[in-house]
Symmetry: C2
Subunit: 194 residues, 2 copies
């Protein structure tokens, strides 16, 4: 997605060979117009998949997911990383290790909101080693719903998450795939889903 | 806002006299169409205020804020409750006590994204005792920016946050004000901002 690539080049910062800072439009400050364009793009790519629910993780997955849900006309559910006192229902849970934060988080969704007859689109802001996506896939499997695919805003093509998911047969649609980074320099993968 | 009141009556659950569960459309599952209507409503109410930034808190404030930012044509910044490794910049921080979770959280925003010449609209999902709003106001004061007001999706009128903020002279626009609750029964305040 050309506009996203341009935004990454203009406002993203490669802090080193593995950390891409996009706090200017995705992870801290949010560009709502770009989020709307991202929502339209995911909706176009998955328009024939019969999606009934979008599933994401708090917090940075919420903005692109809500715009995608708006375009597809379906609700969005965000997995919580810490159990809230008002989440009193039966929960599906799984554990996700974050290499960035060097901690494991239990993520949870209420059993109320995804049923066996749903068709789920998973959306997340980043795909690196695939831990978060695999956690969300585990949750979808627990619900018995069908998984239509995984929509990723930015994939780090130099980490193995995308390869791992595609080899397992999942449909992964990444709007920008960063092939390599050095401090101050970002290169995208050509072809594929761009 | 009539549609929001109807949604609260249809899908909200008064668990007791103080806990309102709106996980069905705001705090866990999100209704993107309602969020868009909420965004349009906040944008209409604050259209003459010269807003340049929307400030909110992760996670449940993000969806209504992004829709408001889209309508107003301005960026959204969400305060983080846990410091991220990619938030390496200088930060404005403040401490917020959550009566629901019975813990204090430091919230932080990067100094990069709000400047002294900004006009900020604070948005949050709930207003109860006002702790979160006061924390966000403290952050806006640290930036030197002007505060246009505070947009709240659901105010608990039976707690003192709204009164406290209005007595201090802040403009508070709440889209639904719950006057009282009992298990299974929700009453709204009439007049005012509805």
């Amino acid at each position: 997605m050309k506009k996203l690539q341009e935004k990454i080049l203009q406002e993203g910062q490669a802090l080193n060979e593995s950390v891409l800072k996009v706090d200017a439009f995705l992870n801290h400050q949010i560009d709502p117009v770009l989020m709307q364009q991202i929502g339209k793009e995911f909706a176009t790519r998955f328009k024939d998949a019969g999606i009934t629910k979008v599933l994401t993780l708090e917090s940075s997955g919420i903005a692109p997911s809500v715009m995608t849900g708006l375009e597809l006309g379906v609700p969005v559910i965000f997995g919580r990383k810490h159990q809230s006192l008002t989440l009193v229902d039966d929960l599906y849970t799984t554990s996700v290790y974050s290499f960035t934060k060097e901690t494991s988080n239990d993520i949870a969704i209420s059993k109320e909101y995804i049923q066996a007859d749903d068709v789920v689109l998973i959306i997340d802001d980043f795909l690196a080693n695939g831990q978060a996506a695999l956690g969300l896939i585990d949750i979808v499997n627990q619900t018995g719903a069908d998984l239509a695919g995984i929509g990723i805003v930015i994939e780090k093509g130099f980490q193995n998450g995308g390869k791992k998911l595609r080899e397992k047969g999942y449909r992964v649609e990444s709007l920008a795939i960063v092939e390599s980074m050095q401090a101050g320099d970002i290169t995208f993968r050509n072809g594929e889903t761009q």
